[in-house]
């Protein structure tokens, strides 16, 4: 039960930052995810793609971190898109209504294109 967090910079027109998450996001691991995302935003990165393809589990604390990140980038007219293909995780976004506030895409490419 751990999470690996990696940040990549895509040097295109929009300077998109991709946050790769690998593992499980819960009450124990979400502070690490939050720290990374907030540091990224505080250093001026407001176009984020958060890749959840390798996330096996997410709970409400993980969702809270994503919502917090979205709120923070919106203060700077930024945006967050998610990459997610896991049906169980998509179901959680559906149930909570978060599909309406996040752009959720099947591939990183489409998530970046639609940012």
């Amino acid at each position: 039960m751990d999470i690996k967090v990696n940040v990549r910079e895509l040097n295109g027109e929009r300077n998109i930052s991709v946050v790769d998450l690998n593992g499980e996001i819960d009450v124990y691991t979400s502070p690490k995810v939050k720290e990374t995302i907030m540091e990224l935003i505080d250093s001026g990165h407001y176009a984020l793609v958060i890749n959840l393809e390798n996330v096996r589990y997410i709970d409400s604390t993980g969702l809270g971190v994503l919502i917090g990140g979205l709120k923070r980038v919106r203060e700077h007219s930024g945006a967050v898109n998610l990459v997610c293909t896991n049906p169980q995780i998509k179901k959680i976004f559906d149930i909570t209504g978060l599909v309406k506030i996040f752009g959720i895409f099947d591939t990183e490419e489409t998530a970046c294109e639609n940012l």
Binding site: M1, Y28, T61, G64, I92, T96
Partner: protein, 146 residues
């Protein structure tokens, strides 16, 4: 493929119960959800239902940890019935924020308050008791589907 679970003939709740006590700390929530997933798997719940149970139990434990008054343990009890599992999560704290259960309809999503909403959405029946002396007790039922 495992054989269907052979419940004790008495089908007594006190007999067909698996209990777990974890420290009231975030790093133990994963252990609780995996333990309950193992029990649900043994009862031949579907993978989707097991995932629902894992998340609901984790949310209940997280609530206990975030709102408990200190170092008390969180108690997780799984009562096994032929047609359902009843998971009870109990602490000695002051109760979940806001008291009672969140409404079924979720309005504007925000950072807090999602946990109890998820529990209600993922489980078939949820019962909540808040006792100032003994703490918070959340019972969640999931029925086996044919």
């Amino acid at each position: 493929m495992r054989e269907p679970l052979d419940l004790h003939p008495a089908a007594d709740e006190e007999v067909n119960v698996v209990e777990l006590r974890i420290p009231s700390r975030a790093e133990w929530v994963g252990v609780a959800r995996l333990a309950v997933a193992g029990i649900a798997s043994r009862l031949q719940f579907s993978i989707e239902d097991i995932e629902d149970l894992k998340l609901a139990v984790a949310e209940a434990c997280t609530n206990c940890i975030q709102h408990a008054s200190g170092s008390e343990a969180v108690r997780i009890s799984c009562a096994i019935h032929p047609d359902r599992i009843v998971v009870t999560v109990q602490d000695s704290g002051k109760g979940f924020a806001g008291g009672g259960l969140a409404p079924k309809e979720l309005g504007e999503p925000k950072v807090g308050g999602l946990g109890v909403f998820l529990i209600r959405s993922l489980m078939d029946d949820v019962d909540y008791e808040l006792n100032p002396d003994s703490g918070t007790k959340l019972s969640m039922t999931k029925f086996l589907r044919n």
